[in-house]
Symmetry: C2
Subunit: 125 residues, 2 copies
């Protein structure tokens, strides 16, 4: 049994998703124990959605699941690092490859890169 430390952040710890091949950081989300266990057993990145207050298999809606290639923990067991293969090429709900597409330059935000997919097509009702 792997003991994670959920005490410092009220039951949730941050989990970073990094592209296993390029090293690019794709997104950061949160996990509770169930999300961590589900990730471990299924091999698909599973987070806890703070807004929906439920487990969230990343890519459930869009099809852009994250296949987990490696899991790392930090020194004090309160952050998870997932090295993943990002199916569909984009991790962000905006259609960008990475959620970190805003670069700070001279005190202002500049958007880096173009969306990989059209959010209207992927999240159609």
């Amino acid at each position: 049994m792997i003991q994670l430390d959920f005490n410092k952040t009220g039951g949730l710890i941050p989990a970073i998703a990094q592209d296993h091949a390029t090293g690019e950081i794709l997104m950061l989300a949160y996990m509770n124990q169930k999300a961590f266990d589900a990730t471990l057993s299924s091999g698909k990145a599973t987070y806890y959605s703070r807004s929906r207050q439920t487990l969230w298999i990343k890519g459930e809606t869009s099809g852009n699941v994250q296949l987990v290639k490696e899991i790392r923990l930090d020194c004090d067991n309160d952050t998870v690092l997932l090295k993943v293969e990002q199916v569909g090429g984009a991790a962000c709900h905006t259609g960008h490859r990475s959620c970190f597409f805003k670069k700070i330059e001279h005190g202002a935000i500049r958007v880096i890169g173009e969306p990989v997919f059209d959010t209207k097509e992927v999240y159609q009702k």
Copy 2:
């Protein structure tokens, strides 16, 4: 003025430090507005220490400061990504290059790599 969203996590947001040259993730710590502003103005990664409840210039004690090369924000402005040059080669207080030196293999934790520095020498009283 760059508006970060501190509401969802009670005044603190996670900040990831990534080696700007290799893409290796070095650590994750937390920032409040003051820590973010200090990072922006000083060019040195400055976090908020949850245990000491004060601003924390990374490397203040060890000398292993992080020189900020680039700052990114995520899609909803509640996570910071710092691309840094890690002075001294090690980000972790254990002496490891990265805090993420624990790999999960077959349901158990395996330590990856050796410490870069001797913590007794660096943090001597």
